[in-house]
Amino acid sequence: MNYDAMLSLLDELAQEYLFLDCKNIDIPTAGKLLNNLESIINESQKIKTPQLNSCGMGLSQILEKIILDMIKDKNQAADLLEEGIRLMQQIADSFKNTGKYDGSIQEFMGKLVAITGVAISGSDSSVAAESAETNVTEVKEEPLQVQDESLMRDFIAEGLEYIEEIEVNILNLENEPENKEYINTIFRPFHSIKGVASFLNLEKIRSLAHSLENLLDKARNGEISVTAPLIDVVLDGSDALKTLIGQLRDTLEGKKVDESALDIPALKTRITRIEQGFDSDMGDKKVGEILVDEGIISKDKLDEALQINKGTPDKKIGQTLIEEGIVKPKQVSQALRKQVEQVTDLTTIRVDTTKLDDLIDMVGELVITQSMIQQDLKNQLNPDKQLTRDISQFFRITSTLQQVSMTLRMIPIKQTFQRMSRLVRDLAKNAGKNISVELIGEDTEIDRNMVDEIYNPLVHMIRNSVDHGLESPEDRIQLGKSEKGLIQLKAYHRGGNVVIEITDDGKGLDKNKILQKALKNGMISSAEGLTDSEIYKFIFLPGLSTAEKVTDVSGRGVGMDVVRRAVEKLRGKIEIESTVGVGTTFITRFPLTLAIIDGMIVKVGTESYILPTLSIRQALRPSQEAYTNIVGRGEMLDAMGRLMPLIRLYEIFNIEPRHREPWDGIVVVVDSESGSKCLLVDKIIGKAEVVVKSLGEGLKSIKGVAGGAILGDGRIGLIIDIEGLFELSEGR
C-alpha cells in the first residue's frame, strides 16, 4: 500500500487546521477542512485502513457539530481536533514505515463519543442528523415581532395563491403518485408558508404548515407512500390553512372571527396517523355513531344518552344506552366488535395489479377445467355418486372463488368523485360561478382499471356542465333560480353495468341551436323526424360546439366527440337528457370491468364468435327482396328502414359456412362509430359473459379481433372488434 498520498492529504489538513479558530468558527475554513476530511476518508477506504477511516469520520462529526454550534465546550473540541489530526499522522507514518499500527484508537474514539454523544460506526450519519434536529430548538433565537401590516397583507395574498397552487398540483400527484417532482411542488409552498409564518408569529399557521411539510417530506423520501388518505389530509390541511389565512385577513379588517369552526388538533392527529403509516384516517368512529349508522338507535336518542353521560365522564356511552333501555347489550357488543374491525381494516396491503390479473386468469382456468371434469363425468356410463357429489361441491367453491377474485379488483368510485368535486370547485372559481356538488352512490364499486379510464371523459363532461350548462349567478337570479348552481354526480349499478350520471341544473341544451349548426355543417339535410335524443346526440359529433365563446376550459368544438369516443372505447354508452331551463343530464354506462365482456355468441360454420352486446342493434332474417347489390357500394341490405352494407363474416375470416345467403342465415345489425352494418352469421347461440383473454404478444394487433374467450363448452371463441371488422370489410 502507498501511504504517500494519505500523508500529503493529512499535511494539508493540518495546515488548514491552523487557520481554524474553534471559538469563533470561520465557516469557509471549516468547509475546506470538511472537504479535506472527506478525501482522507475516501483514501483510507482505498488503502483499507479502518483506523484512519474511523478517525476521519470522528473528526468530521466534531467539525460538523462545531459548525452547527452544538458543542458547548469549544476548547475541548479544538483540542480533540488537533489530537485527532496528530493521531492520524502517526497511524499513517507507522503504516508507511512498518506496514502496521500497534497503538489503539479506542481512547481517542471514546473521547469523541463523550463530546459528540454519537458513536461512529460506518458512514451512517442519520442518528447524528436526528439529534441535530432535537438540539436545534435550543439554539433557536426568539422570533422577532414584526407587526408590519403591509407585510401581513402580502403574506395573506401570496399564501392564498400558494395554496391554490397546491390544490392544482395535488391532482397531478394523484395521477402519478410516484412522481417526486409533484411532491416537491406541493412541499415547497407549505415550506415557504411555514417560514414566513414563523417570522410573523403566526403560530397556528406555522405549526400546521410544518406538520404538512413533514408529512410530505416523508412521502418524498419514500418513507410513506402517497395514498388517497394522504392526499385527502393534505387537501384538508390546505383548506384549513386557507381558512386560517382568511381569518387573519378578517382580523386585519376588523371583522369578528369565528375560530371554533376549525378543528386543527384533529387534523394534526390525522396527519400524524398517516405519517406513522396508517393507511386510513377512519377508524375513530364512536360506538354511538356506529349504532346510529346501523339504524339501531336514532340520532336524537344518542344525543339524549350523551347528555346523560356528561355527568359521569368515566361511564361508557354503551353502558348508558343499555341502562336507559334504548339498546340491548348484544347490539352494543356488536357495535364494539365493528369498532375493532374498523381498526383492523387499516391493515390493507398494496398488490401489483398484474399479480391480481394473473390470479383472476388462473381462477378462470380453474372454472373451465372443473366444468370439463363435470362434463367428462356426465359422459361416463356409471358415474360414481360420491365423486359426483364432491365435484358439485367443488363447483360451488370455484364459482365463489371466481366471484371473490373479481371483487378484488373493484374499488369504490368515491375517490374519482372526490377528485371531480375538487375540480368543479376550481373550475367554478375560474368561471366566476357559484356551484355546489352533490355526490350520490360514492360507494358504488368499479374495476380498478376502469377508474383511470373513465376519469378523462368524466372530466370533460363536468367541464362542459360547469362552463356551458350552468348559467352565471346574475342570470340565475334573473331566471328565479337560486344563485348557486348544482352539479350532481351519481353512480349506481344497473344490469351488470355501472351507470354514472352527471346532472346540472343549468339552462339545458338548445335544440334549435344544435339543429341549425348541424344543418349548417351538412350533417343532416332536414330536421324532420328527429327525436330530441337524436338531436342531442349531434353534440357528440366532431366540429359541433354550440358555445358562443371559447373559454379556456371548453368550447373549442373538440370536446364531446372525444368524450363519446373514449366512452365507446371502454365499451360504454352515453346518453343525454335535457330540458330547457331545467338542466342537462349525461348518462354514461360502463361495463363493471374490462376483464369481462357481455357478449352474444354467434356461430359461423364450426367457429364461434362473440359480438359485444353493446354494439348490437338488432338481429333479423331478411327477405330476399331486402338484398341489393349496388355498383360501387357493394352488397346492401334493407334493414330497420335503411340500406346498410352487408358483411359476410365467413368471407372475412375465410371459413366454410352453413348458410351462404342472408335469407338463409341470420343477420345481426351492429353499430360502430362510423355507422351501422349488417353481419351475416349462421346462427345465434345466446348471450354470455365471457372473460376476455389476450391472444398473446404475437397476435396482439389482429384487425377485427379484440381477443379470445373460453366458452362454456371448453371451446375457444374469438371476440369481434366491430370497428376493426368494418375497416377490414372496406378493405382499409
Binding site: G31, L144, D154, G195
Partner: protein
Amino acid sequence: MADRSVKILVVDDFATMRKVVRNLLKQGGYDDIVEAEDGAMAFKTLKSQKIDVVVSDWNMPNMSGLELLKAVRADAELAKTPFLMVTAEALQDNVVAAVKAGVNNYIVKPFTAEVLNEKIKKLVEGLDK
C-alpha cells in the same frame, strides 16, 4: 453599520419572505437590495451587476440555494462572492452540504434582525480585507 453602499441580493421564491428579509436588513442599515425569485434568476442578476453579498433561501424551484451556491463558486468571476444560506431547520445534512460547497455562513429561520445583520456585517468586513 455599513459605511459604503453594500449591495445585497436576496433570493427567495416567496415574495413575502424577500420583503421580510429586506425589512430586517434595513434595520441594519442595508438598503441597497436587489431581489431574485429563484436560483437561476439570481445567477443571472449576479452576472449582470456587482453584488456584494448573496442571501439565499435553500428550498426553491428551478435552482435551489445549494445549486446556486455551487454555480457561484464554480464561476471564476463570482467565486469569491460572500454567500449566506438561509435554512428552515439546521438540518445537519443540509448545513454540511452547504459548508462543503463553500458557503460563508448560514442562518436558521426564524431569525432576528440582530443576528442577520451581525452575520452580514462580518461578510462585508471580509470584503474589505
